[in-house]
Symmetry: D2
Subunit: 368 residues, 4 copies
């Protein structure tokens, strides 16, 4: 049960390896009547694309997406939407050396053991390239959420190695190669990354995503909670090792009297919950943070074994991101869009009859 489908009502199924003919996917469950064209999706694909700045990998991936079905006369028809991105820049010869050796920190060893064989070119299916389709699919969800419900989703880099963002200004995020929302940190990031490249090493990062204008009531109380599904989505992004909702690990040292967000007729007085209570959205901003490990594709030599179990040394040459966390920003946005979209449809299915007489309080809340 290979698990290449995400979502239950608004589903995305993907295929493709970094060095195959193409990558692609199918969106199923998209409501009909949504105006949609390739240009709606290309913007986020370009944001995700490596080679955009000198800090991300120099590979040129022409992530040009084609919509193959499910759109007629400019509108979605309610049938499945086929997405395709051809692979163009494949230098397979770069990878001949890693064929018989497992790179530490990579999926090489686990793929080999699980399947008995692996497509070793460019990481095969474990390559971040697959996420391009998630970004495209998330773009469809984003457009629907914005247009029908005013929901907006913004991601940003909140920490890179020791450098922590201090202010969040979404208008700054897309003006720099780091998706950094704090203009005062850009020079420091630039210097840090320059230094890192010299070392041939890589660094971890923290990425945050926020959905604003959320409706109340999305998420199921048990198991498929909104926060649980977000955790699944984010932990499923390559290199992610931790996920927080709202105050996350800081709650370990919080007291109950301090943590709870007071409800007032004017709105929630704070947003420590991150917009979820009992697995269900509160209407506050939905706030998720995630930790991304440093990539293991580095030129610092490492100790490993080969496919026969013998000791070996490995150096990953080629074009690699020193911080994969940066490029995760549009991916994390896409995954949040997919989760919110899925739960919007799920809620609609079961609760279309509900007309709650309790007034919805505003989302306004203190900063976080």
């Amino acid at each position: 049960m290979a698990g290449n489908t995400f979502g239950k009502l608004f589903t995305v199924t993907t295929f493709g390896e970094s060095h195959g003919i193409a990558i692609g996917g199918i969106i199923d469950g998209c409501p009909p009547g949504l105006e949609l064209c390739e240009a709606d999706l290309q913007g986020d694909l370009d944001r995700r694309k490596p080679g955009t700045s000198r800090y991300t990998t120099a590979r040129r991936e022409e992530d040009e997406v084609k919509i193959l079905s499910g759109v007629f006369e400019g509108k979605t028809t309610g049938t499945s939407i086929g997405l395709l991105i051809n692979n163009t820049d494949q230098r397979s010869n770069d990878y001949s050396k890693i064929k018989d050796t497992f790179r530490p920190g990579h999926a090489d060893y686990t793929y080999q053991q699980k399947y008995g064989l692996r497509d070793y070119r460019g990481g095969g299916r474990s390559s971040a390239r697959e996420t391009a389709i998630r970004v495209a699919a998330g773009g469809v969800a984003k457009k629907y959420l914005k247009q029908q419900h005013g929901i907006e989703i913004h991601g940003y880099l909140s920490q890179l190695g020791p450098i922590k963002v201090e202010t969040v200004d979404h208008s700054v995020t897309n003006t720099n190669a780091f998706f950094c929302p704090d203009a005062s940190k850009i020079d420091a990031l630039d210097a840090y990354m320059r230094d890192l490249k010299k070392q041939g090493d890589s660094i971890g990062a923290k990425v945050s995503v926020v959905a604003t204008n959320m409706p109340v009531g999305l998420g199921e109380p048990i198991f498929d909670r909104l926060d649980a599904d977000l955790a699944h989505a984010m932990m499923g992004i390559n290199a992610v090792k931790g996920v927080e909702v709202g105050d996350g690990f800081a709650t370990v040292e919080q007291k109950g009297s301090e943590h709870r967000d007071a409800l007032t007729p004017e709105g929630f007085a704070s947003n420590r919950s991150g917009g979820v209570l009992g697995g269900i959205s509160t209407g506050q901003d939905l706030v998720v943070h995630m930790a991304l490990k440093p990539t293991s594709s580095i030129s610092v030599p490492g100790e490993t074994i080969d496919i026969h179990g013998k000791s070996a040394e490995v150096i990953t040459k080629g074009r690699h991101d020193p911080c994969v966390g940066i490029r995760a920003v549009p991916i994390a946005e896409a995954m949040m869009a997919l989760v919110v979209m899925d739960h919007l449809l799920r809620d609609r299915a079961q609760n279309a009859d509900v007309h709650c007489t309790t007034p919805v309080i505003p989302a306004q809340a203190g900063p976080r």
Copy 2:
């Protein structure tokens, strides 16, 4: 789509509110031939049960589980297993005051908005009581994993408020009311909790779970990764606000040369990955940490609104845990067992033909 089912091949579906007639569940997909009786499940249920110590709620929940089907002559038959626990100690009158008021930090407001009505007695479906069935179902998975594959799962409290565990000795964990694996911290925990009760306040906690003797190859590469499914499982436990696999958020400040676990013919040299690479188990110990927020059921007065949107004050009286994180230990173990079991069956379905010629390296690794 109410989402009360967990898992894809080894599934658990639950029902029941804290103040209804009974809670229960159905396990589907259990392999036949497993010796099973109620006693196999009761031990973990008793560990989870409130009222066991003076630090957890004084409610007496007689969590006596009955197996209603799926077992014949002491062995599982391969058909669905019905589980039932009657609710016995229900003092509904305790809850009359919260009928018209939303407790801050609780699911009251979100349930009301989502469904237009709610069972306000004892939190209804959002009560932690529902987790008893997860613990029972996890017990079945635990038994199978141990007996057929030698896999063992151990949870423990790793932090409570400011008090951090420094050593992990699984033989200590079940000797104290805190599931604390570090004997040197028990007095401090005791003093802290005593003080907290006087304040009428609550505190957050960090809980860890480790699976040992893991096979290589469990987990799917995309979306339904082993780590992603663990994140889903753990974030779905009441009060959990953050989940880490392996080094988790510490990776944000790690370099690639530092993070990657070297492979040697004698085994992995460390376990920073937490036992997962590319979404697939490595054979190392599977290590997950989670943050649990402090419960909002406290006697410190709080600001809120009533169902008409008017300002109100709330004090939660009654019998409540000052630290819900403690009781989460057996629940987290159960959820890990369910995830590992599910992926074991999933892997078996697709990869039964695989006979990998690469030797499996031992799991031995540095501490963490």
Copy 3:
């Protein structure tokens, strides 16, 4: 993947064997706010119950259903609904003889081979007793469909052995032990069954189910078509060997000019399609027929083998239906209700925004 769950958005998961402690199930996805109590479900359970007439098995099954959760102050809450029926009349000693022998036409042999063991008492999980929970769950769907959408579902016996029903009057169906909608056939059925009992043999039957007042637009175009899901539901009822929608097998000899139902401003001119075009409901009556094989639990001796593969003779003694098809009527109604309910929620999820400007034409149509 044991498959004990039916439906995707309105799901029913069942457990229980005929000779265990209890049978039960969980409904997930029921909309909140539906008035519901046990009495709503008991009527159909009593219709299904054996021992109601002298033509069905003389076993007394007290199918008294209890609702254990999901209903508060008389209304569904949107959480999962636990259903339980205790097993009371279990004469296990009746079954000692079949322990080591496979009854021809039964599931004995296939269960033994699949699972390596089986609960041989009363057919275990393959007993028709499990269908009681489907009937109860279908009752919830029936109530919702009727109350919110005016949809009604009527089943009836359309043929028993050589005796074919000629007129369908739903008001007659429940006045006789055969669920026969044609008063003129009741005496013939009575005589036929009396004779059959003397022979110790059994007979097949054809059962039909019709949903009236159907909305247009339920069902998905591909794979999960409304007709395909009905076929899955009906073929999943014990003993069913064939399913037809609308004209069914008669279409093999029809010409296109004869088969197509003309659309007129006053409505469809006929209903050969059975209310489904392209997998989607047309608004016409939804019409399904099914064939049920004669039960193999008969006192006529039969040739078989034992669990060691040796020749043996088998005679099924005890209390068995000479025509299991009769009792399938309320089960088939329940399954149709579950399918229609599921697709209603599915359609709502995806197509809530749709406001089609094409007028809906009436369902009126010629008979069939």
Copy 4:
């Protein structure tokens, strides 16, 4: 929840309309290590392709399938397999007349009502063209089943209008344009079809599929029974209105003493069950029959309405099959392969530990 995915462990998700850019699909869950190339799939695609004989539509559909992923160095890798077939022969101008009119017997009206809009070119998603991807995906399953388990699947035309096949010789089936397994009927079929074309009318058909060399034990006891899933699969093929397993509707008039297949040490004495008991395969041949309605795309004028609800007359011009049932033969084979494959993996997941001590009896049985 648009339902474009088939299967649970071996899944196929499809996209594409007849007049879009391409159709395609994703196979998920294919075991690794299977030798696979396009040529393995092309044979069945060519059998399905219209324009192969003068009796099927004259459209030239170049069903050339491309495998875009999931295969490396000639073997499946265990990752998802992307399939693509470009649409080449699209004469969109043929369809301008039906834009505003609903063809009786087509999905035009139901799509319009469900989605509020429709791709009217060539039936859009309801076109039989989508089935090409099912055939390709079924080809992968067929290859695995044959190679790993010796299972073979053969379909054939068993009736066309009044002409019934009397003998079944699989070596004859693929030698004629009708997939007729009875050489003595080919002239009659030829004459009948010639006559039908002159009339501008169409005719229904009956198609049968048989799997030989089946293992015992595939299928789940409840809901997801092997027969139920076959019914779902077959009823989901365009134009299918009825499905039978084994003796099907003939069982209505059978007695129990006549219907049950005796078990003997030499094998089953007959195969009235069609190879399924209690939802689980017996090891006998798996036998399914289905009825396909005559297509409504005929040149005989018909009564209908337009999108404004006004009376209209419709004549379908263009290139259409007078008997769509014929081309369903490879589709039905593919669907059976998908169902058997899915249940093989499902059984493996749950029952890998089972070592039944009861001997498996041979499948040999009397004809049917």
